[in-house]
């Protein structure tokens, strides 16, 4: 004899993970019905729906990852992002002769050519800093502005077949910072979901535009993937970008190891090794190889340092705020 109202609530309840439902489902429905009766409602209000959707997302997220894991993820993604920013800024400012001479088109130089490394860095650093410090509105605003920039960029690329400030590395970068968003503010599942979908759409579109409008770089990895009909991703898998991905993987593995997640670290390495071999095989003996290898090493170093600092800041904040803040 369930009423329409109860059926609506039960269909919303299905959004929660099974374990959670078994534990709290009936009590939640009971409370929802109590509250609805008090205000004489016959259907769930819009606010109630949003509240339940967000609560369900949070329940799913916290069952997948503990707070400690999320803070670790935050530190690692901050490290990777900072490393990218530092390297692009250094490259932009110094334009080292050995890189230019080797004709290395490390793709981030395209990314910073138009807006400059500073703007690129701010777009990522501001929201992260605001989120870590707990300024929710500022972080949302900064993130919104950055996502808007990404959107404009994608539209520019699609409509005019040319870059505004984009290349596949920026897509990778957007993905990394979305991870940061997820990790830094797990209480904003909606924001994280929007952020991640924008980053994913961005990566797909950019790869598509690059593979159709521009000749792909001649790395063997690209030819291999073309032959496998991975057209969408071929653009993202050029020599330079593979180096960035490998550096990010190495960095993640080192950070995971530092914090004691040995199995995950080993898994990351296991996934990265075949790619590293392919990367080394395609580039061995060339100028680019040496140049890229040096950049990768610098990036890993900068990233580890940044991860340690960010993790230190997070841990320090917790310690400073006392046990109560953890709640």
């Amino acid at each position: 004899m369930a009423t329409t109202l109860e059926r609506s609530y039960r269909s919303l309840l299905r959004l929660f993970p099974r374990d959670w439902r078994q534990l709290h489902g009936e009590a939640l429905i009971g409370t929802l019905l109590d509250a609805a009766e008090a205000r004489q409602a016959i259907r769930p209000s819009a606010g109630e729906r949003v509240d339940l959707i967000l609560a369900a997302a949070e329940a799913r997220m916290s069952s997948a990852m503990s707070a400690a894991q999320r803070s670790l993820l935050c530190a690692v993604s901050a490290g990777v992002g900072l490393a990218l920013v530092v390297c692009s800024a250094a490259y932009d400012l110094a334009r080292p002769a050995w890189l230019v001479h080797a004709g290395v088109g490390l793709s981030w130089n395209a990314a910073i050519a138009v807006v400059g490394a500073g703007a690129f860095a701010l777009g990522w650093l501001l929201p992260l800093a605001a989120a870590l410090l707990g300024y929710r509105r500022a972080a949302i605003a900064a993130w919104g502005a950055f996502e808007l920039l990404v959107f404009v960029d994608v539209m520019g690329a699609v409509l005019h077949q040319q870059w505004v400030f984009a290349d596949p590395t920026s897509a990778l970068f957007a993905g990394v910072l979305s991870l940061g968003a997820l990790a830094a503010r797990p209480r904003w599942p909606l924001l994280a979901a929007v952020s991640i979908s924008v980053a994913a759409a961005y990566a797909l579109l950019l790869s598509y535009v690059e593979t159709t409008a521009v000749d792909p770089p001649d790395a063997a990895a690209v030819r291999l993937f073309r032959s496998l009909h991975f057209y969408l991703w071929a653009g993202a898998l050029n020599f330079g970008n593979l180096a960035v991905v490998l550096a990010a993987a190495a960095l993640a593995a080192i950070c995971l190891r530092i914090v004691g997640h040995r199995k995950t670290s080993a898994l990351v390495i296991a996934i990265a090794v075949p790619w590293a071999v392919a990367w080394a095989a395609t580039g061995a003996g060339t100028h680019e190889f040496l140049a890229h290898a040096q950049v990768v090493m610098i990036m890993v170093g900068a990233g580890v340092a940044a991860s340690v600092v960010v993790r230190g800041v997070v841990v320090h904040r917790h310690a400073e705020a006392g046990r109560t803040r953890r709640v």
Binding site: L28, T31, A56
Partner: protein, 105 residues
Amino acid sequence: MQEPTFLILTALADGERHGYALIEEISRISNGTVKLGVGTLYTALDRLTKEGLIEHTRDETVGGRLRRSYRISAEGEARLTEEVRRLEANLTAARRRLGLARSAR
């Protein structure tokens, strides 16, 4: 400590309460400024139970609806007391600097 946590612990400080009673009590404590969503309430209750700050006491079925009651644990009381002291210290400092002596109000 976040505000919902603070309010839930405060609402449970003088005895056990079930879901809807908690929402009403929190609204009263905050002078109607905080209306906790039911979803938000239960994710908070789940978290606080896991952290050992509150305990599930009993289930009771009223008119076919399950009412699950919670009470504050010893650790929850300690944590709330600690938070109250911290807030009081901040308040005292703010009052002193603003020249708002307690006796003046």
